[in-house]
Symmetry: C2
Subunit: 343 residues, 2 copies
């Protein structure tokens, strides 16, 4: 119940991150980076902290008696099936460890407000899984100072992540989408991207471009459209694309929701899928199998990602160190009925 | 931290439910029924308990200092969009009261195992919202003995519910579906029901039958099909229905998932919606607006139901008594593109 760092003078035995930070006069985030073997800490600071660890030792500031049997999961919004898939993965691991899963959502914002962090500190969970959501440096710091581990799931792309993260191989997925369409004979291939500021979304686009480039297929800049992962984006862009003098014969929508929007535009225009237009999505949400025709898409193992993030939290809260700061799970092409050779 | 009922001798002031139960030699569920004005308690027992309340007084056994700032939500399974909608409603109320929302799921079972109840008792939430899920009498009893209130959302139909419950006016929804189709001129109307053991599902069917009956339209028993709320049920039954000598001109699917299955069967058979077959669903999940054509359906206010259940828990945990044991929120017909007059 004492939120301020423990006093550091005359401490016996190994020091916690908070104590090391106080002694070294640096932030707990910096100590955490050194402890976790991250490279982005200045040499002088690193040496100083490592000297302290050598002389005093290091211990995780875990107090299991005070930590509640909970794991916190923070979503930027609870909408659509991806949240359910991730939650199922977290539940699976939590059940195994008899942890309750506390779910919060930010109503679409990407950074939590003050109330959320206060509540987390008060309930003292084993740790926090943050989905598509960036904590501020101050919020991260406050979690670390209470030794509440944080794991990011598919982070939004801020290079300053201090925390371990779980993602999917988005770049490879974009590559696989391009290769599949090229192998079918498509050359005029449009892409509808997700938001620029999201790492996952950028990686999918880069992979797609690489696939086109490696196959020697030119990308027409007019066929690159910027979306925001909403169904409407797929609809609006496809209506525009199909109105061009030379419309595309295929579209790679970088999530399944936008692919559904492509279907709507096609229905509106009387364009047949896949005969007149091939469509590839990304995610493989349960709905992909129930679209008409069934959607060819890049499968992202959302449930496994949720489970991996929860497992990382459990490991960290037990005082273990993760072997990797960043885990990427494989994506995979699932071919169904929405792609065929161009006419 | 003392799980056994408090000693009841020489107690000063008003008694808790557990103390009243011990004095009267009855279960806490029985006392709870009396306290909440339920009619299903024998007259002798009721008089005895009321006499005790008159002489000692009654107080809720709430110990705010020991109760965690949590509310538990139990789903029978975390699948599909209905769970997300309900959760959003719970989150809204929880956020307002600074309560963390602990989500559990039973992997499709309808009764939780031993582990779940132990964990709930250990974490002492403000209360439990149970969605499509029945606790056993013993589990309910254990919650009550710790004064952890329980609110059922859309209960499975066990008439022995001790707990307050929140539902939607399913019967009225079924009635509205029948009336809409009859008003369009349909007479051969099929219905695909949900599971018989679910209250919600039975009420929808009864309302539908009433609508047919009140309009003087005969129901062909061959057009009544029993489903399990799965997409596949809509698919399989529609394939059969459309193979009949006199196929229906309209189908009422008693959830949106099965309505999606009807769409698949129609696509497979080359049957056009709504020209050849009108379809009405039930739920109005977000996907209903994105089906092609957009689905005419009965809107069930899932988010509002989640919010109402959470509000009831908050009220009960504050020692308030609910004015009603059962709250039904209104359903409403939403007409979109999947219904039209028969050809």
């Amino acid at each position: 119940m004492n939120p301020s760092p423990e006093p550091v003078r005359n401490v016996e035995g190994p020091l916690t991150i908070a104590q090391l930070a106080a002694l070294a006069g640096v932030s707990t985030a910096t100590v955490s980076k050194v402890v976790n073997g991250r490279s982005d800490v200045g040499a002088v600071t690193r040496d100083q902290i490592e000297a302290l660890i050598r002389s005093h030792g290091y211990r995780r500031q875990r107090r299991p008696a005070k930590s509640a049997a909970l794991i916190d999961v923070l979503f930027h919004e609870l909408a659509g099936l991806y949240a359910i898939e991730i939650l199922n993965g977290v539940e699976e691991v939590a059940r195994e460890h008899r942890l309750g899963v506390v779910v919060s959502e930010l109503g679409g914002r990407h950074v939590p407000g003050r109330g959320w962090i206060e509540d987390v500190l008060a309930r003292r969970p084993h740790g926090v899984v943050s989905v598509f959501t960036g904590l501020t440096a101050e919020q991260t710091e406050r979690l670390y100072s209470r030794d509440i581990p944080l794991v990011l799931l598919d982070p939004t792309g801020d290079p300053e992540h201090d925390a371990p993260s779980i993602g999917a191989s988005n770049w490879n997925g974009g590559l696989a989408a391009a290769r599949h369409l090229i192998a079918l004979g498509h050359r005029r291939i449009a892409v509808i991207t997700g938001p620029d500021h999201m790492e996952a979304s950028r990686a999918r686009l880069d992979g797609f471009r690489a696939g086109m480039d490696l196959a020697g297929v030119q990308i027409d800049p007019a066929l690159e459209r910027h979306g925001d992962f909403q169904i409407e984006d797929g609809l609006v862009h496809t209506l525009e694309l199909m109105g061009m003098d030379q419309p595309p014969t295929a579209v790679f929508a970088s999530n399944d929701g936008m692919a559904l929007g492509v279907y709507h535009a096609a229905a509106e225009l009387g364009v047949r899928i896949p005969e007149d237009l091939s469509v590839v999505g990304f995610d493989d949400l349960p709905m992909a199998e129930w679209m008409i025709p069934k959607l060819t898409t890049i499968r992202q193992p959302l449930k496994a990602m949720g489970a991996a993030a929860a497992s990382a939290v459990v490991a960290l809260s037990a005082g273990e160190r993760l072997s990797q700061q960043r885990i990427e799970l494989a994506t995979e092409l699932v071919v169904r009925g929405s792609t065929s050779p161009p006419r």
